[in-house]
Symmetry: C3
Subunit: 330 residues, 3 copies
């Protein structure tokens, strides 16, 4: 996997004309947050900041002109699909939109290894969204072109975690020393698991606020603990809102509860309202992976601390950076 | 709304590099035909004619190179989707195709304001097709980037109305003095309502030919009347075909009738055949918003007065003009 | 049809700016393998080899910059859709992706002639995939712009046949003198029918290996016989594997058998395994139109004679060649 594995693109049929072959990440897969060191992240964020600068100044530019991205989505995700499409187009590249792949087991349809080995004749990089954990790694094993994992079921969604971290970095100007509070469904939320892992590379304090049945899994707590990161768990946001520098909100879904009375009892404890914001620091930021349904009230949107729409935009820059990097242009 | 409201694009994160910020419509939404004055229409049609000229001479050009259109379709419309895609691509821009949005109420999925506030990080302009009346206005209220309404249920479809009017203008070389006859379902047909409103800005005579249960709604008649436009209603095309300069045909759908005998009795009165054309002026044009099913016989297609496929092409030029204008490039 | 019919593009509204109007295939439809002479194929393959050379050297280039392809798919085919998209994008052109067309009979929806006459206002060439035999020819009859048949039900899929033949040519460096063995379902397999027709233009020997109920249809045998091509039929691959230069494998589908015992009895006779390959010539190639399910074991993939993924790549070059040719740029 990833960073220090042999580069793949040299076995490609396309001569890497003008590619910076000695660039970090050139020809690499992006499969998991676990593949990144803090130095890697510094590098990615440096490129992402250049992307932001260029987009703000001139909108788009031709860094990846002539390159093709296959956007291979086995499950629908309008936001992630659009984000990668925009990232590629703002860099002057083209996209093959593949939205309608019906997922079918090996007995019924084509295997994922066959699909990616076909698609890589058409594209220079493949972004894969797939409902099965491990699918991105499987695809990467067979593909000669770089694979970017855009979510593999209960597995990883590394570009989401990177954009979450980039949001904190850009909004707060640093990460070391911050207290980050994660709220809501911490058990099933893929994004909070990956973000906790990335934050563990920094000198942070982590608070977890959730109903008892939706607590952060033990193996994540254990992983984070290895990095000597202070962690604390809470049932109620009131206990920690005042000390938080970043609040990462996820949805508590009714369907997770067997006992609906239990759901009714806790649901409002994890909803962000203008009143919640009154207890918060003046320079705190509120984040959310989106879509949100009711867990942050719309009245909060006008609060300058509401960072969740800016977070979407930071995602564009991170994905532009990753695409440019794996294609040897950054 | 629209024309004389404050420009939106200045609040965008993207500096409008090279944009003509003093251009009319720069940064505006296109939501309703009601927002256009006759001078506005003259301006739009002037730009559309330049687009036609350029397309005929060189096919495509790079006026919107680097700009991105999000084609956000909550309901399927192959024709409108393709038309905007082509318009953007012929101008050198890129498209994010979003076709599969399942419409979901606020309780189930993401709200439209949240969706557009996310998408505008990825795109420079959003074309929205949505089944609910008022949705385009709602989206525009929240979006910093221009919204173009591509149909909001029983509401408006302003670019269709503009292309209909542009077709008459280009085919007949003028609009003042013409008699325009609308045929078919005038009650539910969004296109005829909008076209009547636009035509009311000119010195025209309007005929409405429909079954009794599908007559032009009273509020449209009233609106048109404010402009002192002569209007007349008929049950049969034979009474007015000879005096018409433009015939705008829409489909009379069986499903609109509770009494099928009634449908059987009237259905042929609103079908255009070669015989119909024999009574028509030599320079009359036949228009249709398409798709047609049987309301214009295929034998009419070879008649030079059959303008409905040319109408499709005029639509391309009008949409190219609108995209260039709201993006400050025309 | 096709090659020697009058060119269509001159009736287009777009002046063919810079197009080579005297180029072979300029403005032509690609509907059937029957339209190609051996000289035509030589020409196409010459252009395809130039495309391969350019792609390997620089990835993409702007030969079709400003041109638009409408990818009109009435049935889903991820591979063919992606292949044409990539072909157009590698040539600098743009694509209108139309994936969601629900096929509807004339009584319910728009007719195919109306759809193509609308789309051709938006695009310079239309690639059509449709479930009904004869649909591509019908579309071509009405369209002013070139139509490329990307599969019309039980009819033709000429670009697949051309890429199959190109694969043999590129892998073996010649076609005359070769023995080509087709295996599997030869009755319903559109690809083997078209390939047999094309191979009949060369000095080859054809073997057909299939269950009795899935034999090559008599009319194909008869057509091929007109060209004095030696043909032989077999029930078992063992009899011919050693003498084959190219093995073209298709799937034997369980659903084709009324008697499942019969299926169980024959199914393994048509599966390619590493053991099969032991009996084969050292320079033989194994081809497959893909997707495969189990008819070639994955263990065969690493055999250098496994040509089916390279075949996908050859398809890109053939489709690039055809697009450039019908648009007058090759």
């Amino acid at each position: 996997m990833a960073l220090h594995t042999p580069r793949k693109i040299n076995s490609s049929p396309y001569l890497p004309f003008g590619d910076k072959q000695d660039a970090p990440f050139y020809g690499k897969d992006i499969l998991s947050v676990k593949q990144f060191s803090r130095a890697d992240i510094d590098y990615i964020f440096g490129v992402a900041r250049e992307m932001e600068e260029m987009v703000r100044r001139i909108g788009s530019f031709d860094l990846l002109k002539g390159k093709i991205l296959a956007n291979l989505f086995y499950e629908s995700s309008t936001r992630t699909f659009s984000s990668f499409t925009s990232a590629m187009e703002r860099l002057g590249g083209s996209v093959i939109p593949i939205n309608e792949v019906r997922y079918s087991s090996v007995s019924k349809g084509e295997s994922l290894p066959d699909t990616v080995r076909s698609l890589e004749s058409y594209a220079d990089v493949i972004v894969l969204r797939h409902p099965e954990m491990g699918s991105a790694e499987l695809a990467a094993k067979y593909a000669r072109k770089p694979i970017i994992n855009a979510g593999d079921g209960m597995g990883e969604h590394p570009t989401q975690a990177l954009l979450d971290l980039f949001t904190i970095m850009q909004e707060m100007r640093h990460i070391d020393g911050l207290t980050v509070t994660m709220v809501g469904d911490l058990k099933y939320g893929r994004t909070v698991h990956s973000l906790a892992r990335l934050l563990a590379l920094y000198d942070v304090r982590l608070n977890y606020v959730s109903p008892d049945i939706l607590k952060m899994p033990a193996h994540i707590l254990e992983e984070v603990k290895q990095h000597n990161i202070p962690q604390a768990e809470f049932n109620c946001l009131d206990d920690v809102i005042a000390q938080s520098d970043a609040l990462y909100v996820t949805r508590v879904q009714k369907e997770r509860f067997e006992d609906l009375d239990q759901y009714e009892g806790v649901k409002n404890a994890f909803v962000i309202t203008p009143e919640t914001m009154e207890s918060a620091k003046e320079e705190m930021i509120v984040m959310h992976p989106l879509p949100r349904v009711g867990e942050i009230r719309m009245e909060v949107d006008d609060d300058p601390r509401a960072a969740y729409f800016r977070q979407v935009e930071y995602g564009l820059y991170v994905r532009m950076a990753l695409l440019a990097m794996v294609l040897g242009k950054a």
